[in-house]
């Protein structure tokens, strides 16, 4: 077992930056899309209240006007970490009204690992992590020999809808409240808002600022597609110490304020005449589960205590999911995996332990997710390397946090009020938006896996 005494205390959602990442392939198209300050074009736009908002844009984009290929506009709003029942809580009237005017998918679920980065990537790539290379927030980078956040453009191994729209003559925009989301999507979009101000510790911009940027990017640049992450519900949920007591006091406050921001957005669409030509896809990347301080699982010690495994296992902690990596000799890998599975399964609070390769068809995670995937039960969390490492009560990543809200609303005639029992997932966003915008669907090995939900 390799110990990392200098690790940050929590890696479930807070990005741990460890320097630039080399691009993992030589695709010149994606190379062109990676963030590079020297190639960015900065656009300063007056935001709400007169504050200046800084966007970066693809070269030439500052003079571009959205191609009149279609007048349709698609907006994807991710209410990060929102539970589906919270929209019925009475605290989110704007979201509830938006849902009522569209088609909702009550059986919708996030996909493994139920974390922020992988599910945002699935939304914009339309494929699962074994194809897009992003299975979790945090993983063990075997090349670097350390755990890090999957937040580098080079980590992304699949094309995104943001890029696909540009390739077909449309424009796209990203307004992502979290630094690591801004990082992973790099320069995929035509217009990118670099989140600021960033709240210390949480690494995200408050929703009021995110919505200011959203309104500005829509009104100033009018992209065909805008991808928005509203991070307050998730970030406040993580730190809400009353969550384990079922009070969720802070969380409820965040529901109200985030809902107000959604109301601002809908109002803008209506007042600027965009509503009738738009769809608004609203979903979450995962939901949230709260644990009490004594319901903590730490796998570092029991794995290190096993003579066969000692020094040959790395752990990437993802809140409600732990990813275990065998670092010993390849010839002993299966024996090591079997030992890890047995030991993890014996720990109190563990829900499920999977030999990733054996359940590849179910989990679809790919090698970046390591050798063993461990989920905790509802009301528990992982904390490694020791039980004090993760003091955060709100977590996700495990199956209890899979249910998400997912609905397609807006004023375009294609939108129909109703409810569908079909099990929508985060990979459905790409084909849904593409179909609406009239974009071609890639075929063969590039084909999207999701279903269009319009």
């Amino acid at each position: 077992m390799t110990e990392h005494p200098q690790r940050h205390e929590h890696r479930g959602c807070v990005p741990v930056r460890r320097g630039p990442s080399p691009f993992l392939d030589g695709d010149p198209e994606r190379e062109r899309l990676r963030p590079a300050a020297d190639r960015r074009t900065f656009l300063k736009v007056a935001g709400a209240g007169g504050a200046g908002l800084l966007f970066s844009a693809a070269p030439g984009a500052e003079t571009a006007v959205a191609a009149p290929r279609t007048w349709n506009r698609a907006y994807v709003l991710v209410v990060d970490g929102c539970r589906p029942d919270e929209i019925d809580s009475g605290l989110m009237p704007n979201l509830k009204a938006l849902r009522s005017s569209g088609t909702t998918y009550p059986a919708a679920r996030s996909l493994p690992v139920m974390e922020t980065i992988p599910n945002h990537v699935m939304m914009m790539t339309g494929v699962r992590p074994d194809r897009n290379g992003v299975p979790a927030n945090s993983f063990f980078d075997r090349a670097l020999g350390e755990e890090r956040t999957l937040d580098r453009p080079g980590d992304l191994k699949a094309s995104t809808l943001l890029w696909w729209a540009r390739k077909h003559g449309m424009t796209s925009g990203t307004v992502l409240s979290k630094e690591y989301l801004y990082g992973i999507f790099g320069r995929q979009a035509t217009y990118r808002w670099e989140p600021r101000p960033i709240v210390p510790i949480s690494g995200h911009a408050p929703d009021s600022f995110t919505m200011d940027a959203t309104l500005s990017i829509v009104e100033r640049f009018d992209p065909h597609l805008v991808f928005v992450n509203l991070g307050d519900v998730d970030r406040v949920g993580h730190t809400d110490l009353t969550g384990g007591l079922s009070l969720e006091v802070l969380r409820r406050t965040a529901l109200v304020t985030t809902d107000l921001q959604v109301g601002r957005f809908v109002q803008m669409l209506r007042t600027t005449g965009r509503w009738e030509k738009s769809i608004v896809v609203v979903l979450a990347d995962h939901s949230m589960d709260w644990s009490l301080p004594h319901r903590v699982i730490s796998l570092t010690r029991p794995l290190a205590a096993d003579p066969f495994l000692a020094g040959k296992v790395e752990i990437a902690q993802n809140g409600g999911a732990n990813l275990l990596y065998w670092t010993g000799p390849a010839s002993q890998r299966q024996a090591g995996v079997d030992r890890m599975v047995a030991i993890a399964r014996a720990q109190r609070g563990v829900l499920g332990v999977y030999d990733r390769a054996k359940v590849q068809r179910q989990l679809r995670l790919g090698p970046e997710a390591g050798d063993v995937v461990v989920y905790c039960q509802a009301g528990w969390r992982f904390s490694d390397p020791n039980v004090l490492s993760n003091p955060i009560p709100g977590n996700h990543g495990h199956p209890p946090t899979a249910p998400i809200p997912f609905f397609v609303s807006g004023g375009h005639p294609i939108v129909r009020p109703g409810s569908s029992p079909l099990p929508a997932t985060t990979v459905d966003v790409t084909p849904t938006v593409a179909k609406f915008l009239g974009l071609p669907f890639p075929t063969g090995r590039q084909a999207w896996e999701g279903q269009a939900r319009i």
Binding site: P106, A107, G379, P399, A402
Partner: protein, 571 residues
């Protein structure tokens, strides 16, 4: 209350069609639409009464996308009465058509039956199109049975807009007339009938009738507690000749499970409260007889087949497209004995005790975790909602216990005959629901002779803080005694106090009616599941009306209940 003429007997129960038409003309729901839609059934009823061969009507059940089980009982000669063991082996033809006049046959065939099957006929009619109405009949020696109507289930991959069930349980023939069945049959907007158990009762005359004095509105046949195979067959035959039940069977497919009274009271794996091995043979043999008669006489696939004697597995799932899956439970065959003293007997929460059995629990956990359907409906013979109580006045304890068994004298929070008596199983199931992020699970329940609507909190003590595993909707009894019957009180008088105390101590209980008999209608759409409760009139009067009492619904994703303003459909 004035009891009706006693001992009508099974033949007299099926006498002329006049009462049926009278009922239609005077029943509360006998509007023009109901009369029109029921016309083929009226024709069928006349055929039944004029046919010497099909005295017990027709039925269908367990609808699948491409097949439905069809049932009848043929009486090939007058002496071949149910349970007699007499009568020749005969061949019966079945026909399934898309029209009432059988001009467009979809499938047909012949079935052989004899006295070993009590001359019952069960056949799977294959080759049906999903989500369609069909008409069926049986023919023997050129004489046709009543015409039945049935409906196949939607295709697995389809997205039906809705599915709607009639919901019933606890129909004790001695306690009155089956108004609930008649009023459900008068509707034309259902897809199937969900019967949650206590379809027949085991008691002899005078043992369990109407009210505190056990008045027999009608008298059971045979005139003794059923214990032998002949007894069980004759009792089923008697119920199958009830005109209201016949009408309902002919109008809709049934999806059934048993509770205890199909064998005997408070049954468990190796015995029953109402079984005396010294005088009633071994429990194994008695239960086998009950199960054999049930297999013969009910439109259900035991162990997934229509064959008799090939197994008694009753728990099974039925799928309604992507909208819902219905998992029907058997909570009598595998359970451990009920705890004797609820509050002082820690056995209620012992992990080695079970109400489902291991195999059924694993199957149920897989079923509710299905990603293929949105709504996970559970046909649940006994209540799963936890029920705890503040102390009630002693004067009320015994009557409440007579009806529900809910209130041990020491104030125990447990009814040991329902899931409260097997809390480890409930905890395992609820934990599974929470751990797997399962939503939209709805338990539809019978057994307790009262109407309930309840959330299913993970932690009763802190609720409504905290979350709910799903909801439970409990239908009232068709005729079996409820609290006001035991108290001989006027409706909505003595029970009100009890209901208030229970709801006060159990904040997850949203609705409770200890006084009413009737039926429910369960309507499932993607957006919500709603149950409507209907109350029927005096049990000892041949014709009585039906009125809507209340409705509750759970919105998708919420796992909680709220009151609904109006019932669904109704025509």
């Amino acid at each position: 209350m004035t009891p009706a003429a006693p001992a009508p007997g099974e033949r007299r129960l099926s006498l002329p069609p006049v009462p049926r038409r009278t009922v239609l003309a005077t029943g509360a729901l006998a509007g023009a639409a109901a009369l029109t839609s029921a016309s083929f059934v009226d024709d069928s009823a006349r055929a039944a009464y004029s046919s010497p061969y099909f005295l017990h009507g027709v039925a269908s059940g367990d609808p699948l996308a491409h097949r439905v089980l069809l049932w009848t009982r043929v009486t090939p000669e007058p002496g071949a009465t149910p349970g007699s063991g007499r009568g020749p082996a005969v061949t019966v033809r079945y026909e399934v058509s898309t029209d009432t006049r059988f001009r467009h046959l979809v499938t047909s065939g012949t079935v052989r039956t004899d006295a070993s099957a009590d001359h019952t006929v069960k056949v799977d009619a294959w080759g049906l199109q999903p989500g369609r109405w069909y008409y069926y009949r049986f023919v023997h020696r050129g004489v046709a049975s009543p015409v039945g109507r049935t409906r196949s289930a939607p295709d697995y991959a389809s997205v039906p807009e809705r599915v709607r069930f009639g919901v019933v349980s606890c129909a004790n023939l001695q306690a009155g007339y089956f108004h609930a069945y008649r009023h459900l049959a008068a509707r034309s907007d259902l897809d199937a009938i969900l019967h949650l158990g206590d379809y027949v009762y085991e008691y002899g005359p005078g043992e369990y009738g109407m009210g505190p004095d056990d008045v027999d509105v009608r008298t059971h046949v045979p005139a003794r507690e059923m214990t032998t195979l002949t007894d069980y067959r004759q009792r089923h035959a008697q119920y199958k000749q009830d005109p209201d039940l016949q009408w309902l069977h002919s109008k809709y497919p049934f999806i059934v499970t048993w509770d205890d009274h199909e064998s005997t009271n408070d049954a468990w794996r190796d015995g029953a409260e109402n079984h005396q091995p010294a005088t009633e043979d071994t429990w194994e043999r008695r239960r086998a007889r009950a199960h054999r008669a049930y297999d013969e006489w009910m439109p259900v696939r035991m162990s997934s087949t229509t064959a008799l004697g090939d197994g008694t597995r009753l728990f099974r799932s039925l799928r309604f497209g992507r909208l819902a899956e219905l998992s029907m439970l058997d909570l009598r065959s595998y359970r451990d004995e009920q705890a004797a003293y609820p509050i002082v007997d820690a056995t209620v929460s012992r992990p080695d005790r079970t109400i489902t059995g291991r195999e059924q629990m694993d199957w149920l956990k897989r079923a509710v975790a299905s990603r293929e359907v949105q709504w996970k409906l559970v046909g649940n013979p006994v209540m799963i909602a936890p029920v705890t109580f503040a102390q009630l006045p002693t004067a009320l304890l015994d009557p409440v216990n007579d009806v529900t068994g809910l209130l041990p004298r020491d104030g125990s929070p447990y009814n040991v005959d329902q899931w409260d008596g097997y809390t480890d199983d409930r905890r395992e199931l609820f934990t599974h629901i929470r751990d797997q992020g399962i939503r939209d699970t709805v338990f539809v329940t019978g057994d307790i002779h009262s109407g309930w609507a309840a959330d299913l909190p993970y932690d009763v003590a802190t609720y409504p803080l905290g979350r709910s595993a799903g909801v439970e909707l409990v239908c009232s009894s068709v005729t079996s005694n409820n609290l006001k019957d035991i108290l001989a009180a006027r409706p909505r008088t003595a029970s009100l106090g009890v209901e208030s105390v229970i709801k006060l101590a159990n904040r997850h209980v949203k609705y409770l009616d200890f006084d009413s008999h009737g039926y429910s209608v369960l309507d499932v759409t993607s957006a919500r599941v709603q149950m409507d409760w209907f109350v029927t009139g005096a049990r000892d009067q041949r014709n009585a009306g039906s009125t809507w009492a209340t409705s509750f619904q759970t919105l998708a994703g919420t796992n909680t209940l709220r009151r609904a303003s109006a019932p669904v459909g109704g025509n």
